[in-house]
C-alpha cells in the first residue's frame, strides 16, 4: 500500500492505453511516452502494460507501507527516497515506512514511476489508464489526491528476488533514450502526411526548415507549435477521419499541432506530416518556449528504427531475466 502525501501537479495512473474502442470515440490515451513506461515496468520485473504513475512537472510525495522495488524513467527530476537520491533508469528497493519525494523537473516535463506488481486499479474497457474527460479509468478518471491509497498487484518472482538483494540500487541501468537510434537534440523525425500535397510549396519547404516554437497550448492531447504560417495551395475542406498519435495537423490558423496519446480518435484538419513513432516520447518532454525541428524520414526508415528499438528492448528484457537466475 502506498499513501499519497502530496499528489504533485498532475500525477495520474496510466498503462499503455485503451486501444480497441476508437471507432466508438474512446481515446487510446495511456502513458504519453509508452516506450519509457515499458522500460520502467521492465526494470521492476512487471508486465510492460502494468499500471504506473505518470508525473508531470512537479511530482508527488508517496509513503510506502510495504517493501518493494521501484524504477522511473523520463525527464530531469531529482527525486529522493528519504534523504538519498532516487536515481533514474534503475531498479531501487524502497523499504516499508520510507517516503519518495519526487520534486520538480529541471528539464523535460514528465516521468513514469513503476512499482513492482503495478498499481492495482480496476480495468475499465481493458485498461487502467486515467481518462479524465470521460471520468473513468485509474482513480475514477481523476489525478491523484492527498490521502489516496494505492494498492499494488502481485510482484513477479523476479522482483521478489531482486528486493532481497543487498544492493539498494541496481548496478545496471536501462535508459530508454539510448535504445534504438536517437534523433538530433530538439528534433523529431517526420514523414509527409496524407494531405502533404494539399500544401503550398512554401509550406512544404518551411515545415522541414523552420525552427518551431512550442507554445503554451500543450497538453496530453497535442502540442501547438508557432512559426511560419503553413498555407494550403488552394482552399479545401476535409471530412473528418481517423487520426493517430504523432500526426501533425494544420488548423485554420496555419500552425501545426502534433497530436499525442490522448488525441481525439478522428480529426478534420489537413495532415501535413506524421512523426516517426520512435520519436513520440520526445513530444512528452517538450516545454513551452523551446524550439523543435522536423527532420524528414521515409516510412521505410521509420519502420527500420522502430524494429531496431524493439530488438534492443527484447535484448534488455532477456538480459534482465538472466540476472535473476
Amino acid at each position: 500500500m502506498i499513501t499519497v502525501q502530496n499528489p504533485g501537479l498532475l500525477t495520474t495512473v496510466m498503462d499503455l492505453g485503451r486501444p480497441g474502442y476508437q471507432r466508438l470515440g474512446i481515446v487510446v490515451g495511456g502513458a504519453l511516452d509508452r516506450f519509457s513506461a515499458r522500460v520502467a515496468n521492465t526494470l521492476v520485473g512487471n508486465d510492460e502494460n502494468a499500471a504506473l504513475l505518470e508525473i508531470a512537472q512537479r511530482g508527488p510525495e508517496l509513503h510506502f507501507a510495504v517493501e518493494t522495488l521501484v524504477a522511473w524513467c523520463g525527464g530531469e527530476f531529482e527525486p529522493r527516497v528519504g534523504t538519498e537520491p532516487l536515481p533514474r533508469d534503475r531498479a531501487v528497493r524502497i523499504g516499508s515506512g520510507e517516503t519518495i519525494r519526487f520534486g520538480a523537473a529541471s528539464a523535460g516535463l514528465r516521468a513514469w514511476l513503476a512499482i513492482a506488481g503495478g498499481i492495482d486499479v480496476p480495468l475499465v474497457l481493458g485498461s487502467r489508464s486515467t481518462y479524465r474527460r470521460a471520468g473513468m479509468g485509474g482513480l475514477d478518471g481523476r489525478p491523484l489526491r492527498t490521502g489516496d491509497e494505492l494498492k499494488l498487484g502481485a510482484a513477479s518472482e523476479w522482483a521478489e528476488q531482486r528486493v532481497k538483494s543487498p544492493q539498494r540500487v541496481s548496478m545496471w541501468s536501462v535508459r530508454p533514450e539510448t535504445l534504438g537510434k536517437q534523433a538530433a537534440p530538439d528534433t523529431v523525425r517526420a514523414m509527409p502526411g496524407p494531405e502533404w500535397e494539399w500544401f503550398s510549396r512554401d509550406a512544404q519547404r518551411d515545415f522541414f526548415l523552420a525552427k518551431w516554437k512550442v507554445t503554451k497550448d500543450a497538453d496530453r492531447m497535442g502540442v501547438q507549435l508557432a512559426g511560419p504560417e503553413l498555407k494550403l495551395a488552394a482552399e479545401r475542406e476535409m471530412l473528418s477521419e481517423g487520426v493517430n498519435e504523432g500526426v501533425v495537423q494544420v488548423a485554420n490558423g496555419g500552425l501545426p499541432i502534433v497530436l499525442l496519446a490522448s488525441r481525439q480518435t478522428v480529426g478534420g484538419y489537413p495532415r501535413i506530416a506524421a512523426l516517426a513513432s520512435v520519436d513520440f516520447g520526445r513530444m512528452a518532454q517538450v516545454v513551452p518556449g523551446q524550439t523543435l525541428r522536423f527532420e524528414p524520414i521515409t516510412l521505410g526508415d521509420a519502420h527500420t528504427l522502430f524494429l531496431a528499438r524493439e530488438r534492443d528492448l527484447s535484448r534488455v528484457r532477456a538480459g534482465l531475466a538472466r540476472l535473476a537466475g
Binding site: 466508438l24 470515440g25 474527460r133 470521460a134 496524407p194 473528418s240 477521419e241 480518435t265 519502420h303
Partner: protein, 234 residues
C-alpha cells in the same frame, strides 16, 4: 479505393469523396469484411465518412513475415486482397434507434437562429428534424459522439464562431450538414437545438455506446415533462 500510409503505424483506405449513402455503404462493407478477417498486426479499424483508418503494430507485421523494408506495402496488399473479395456495400441494419429530444428553450438555445436562417418557424424546424431518418456516419470527438448524416439541407448551419466553454450532456446539435448528440459535457461549437435524456455512453456495458457507425437514427420530440420522466428512468 486508395490505400496510403498515415505515419508508420496506420494506413488509410479511401472509398469516396463526399457524405453520401453509397460511400457510407462501401466503408461499412469494407469495415465488416476486415473485422471478419484476422490480419497479422492489425490493431483496430476506425470507419469515418469516406475512409477506414487501420492501426497496426509494425513489429507484429514484421513477425508475420513482411519484408522489413516494406511493412506498409505488404500489409496494404493483404488489405486489398480482403477488400477485393468483399461485398461492395452492406444493407443498413434493420432496427432504427429512436432518440427522444426536448427541443428549444434552455435545452436548445440556437433553435430560433436555425429557424430564422431556414426561414421556417421553430416548430417547423422540429418537425423536419424529427421527420427524417439519419445514419451514423462515424463516431468520434468524444466517447459515443455520433456524427449523423442525412440532415435536411435547409437546416444546415455553420459551427459557432466561438465554441461554448461547456455544452450540457445530451445536447442535440447541428454543424454544417450534420447533426449529433453530446454524450458527455464538453466544450463544443455545434448549434444546440434540444436535449435528450437518453444516455449515449456507459463504460460499464458492452458495447459501451448507444450508437455505432452504420446505425440508423430517428428523433422524437418530447415535452419537458416527458423529458424529466425519461431522465429519471435513465
Amino acid at each position: 479505393m486508395q490505400i496510403m500510409p498515415l505515419g508508420d503505424c496506420a494506413l488509410r483506405v479511401e472509398f469516396g469523396q463526399g457524405i453520401d449513402q453509397a460511400t457510407h455503404a462501401c466503408v461499412q462493407a469494407a469495415c465488416a469484411a476486415l473485422d471478419a478477417t484476422v490480419l497479422a498486426g492489425v490493431r483496430e479499424i476506425v470507419p469515418a465518412y469516406t475512409t477506414l483508418t487501420i492501426h497496426y503494430d509494425p513489429a507484429a507485421v514484421a513477425v508475420a513475415g513482411a519484408p522489413p523494408d516494406d511493412l506498409a506495402g505488404w500489409l496494404g496488399s493483404r488489405i486489398e486482397q480482403v477488400l477485393r473479395r468483399a461485398p461492395k456495400s452492406v444493407r443498413a441494419r434493420g432496427s432504427v434507434v429512436t432518440i427522444p429530444v426536448c427541443y428549444g428553450g434552455e435545452f436548445g438555445p440556437d433553435l430560433e437562429k436555425i429557424a430564422i436562417c431556414a426561414k421556417l418557424s421553430a416548430d417547423e424546424v422540429v418537425c423536419r428534424h424529427t421527420k427524417h431518418e439519419y445514419w451514423v456516419a462515424m463516431v468520434g470527438f468524444a466517447p459515443g459522439f455520433a456524427y449523423l448524416a442525412g440532415l435536411p439541407p435547409e437546416l444546415a448551419a455553420p459551427r459557432l464562431a466561438k465554441p461554448r466553454a461547456m455544452v450540457a450532456v445530451g445536447s442535440v446539435g447541428i454543424a454544417g450538414v450534420q447533426t449529433g448528440i453530446y454524450p458527455l459535457a464538453t466544450p463544443g461549437g455545434w448549434n444546440l437545438i434540444g436535449r435528450t435524456p437518453s444516455r449515449l455512453f456507459f463504460p460499464e456495458q458492452t458495447p459501451p455506446t448507444l450508437l455505432q457507425a452504420g446505425d440508423r437514427v430517428k428523433f422524437r420530440s418530447v415535452s419537458r415533462e416527458e423529458f424529466a420522466k425519461l431522465e429519471a428512468d435513465a
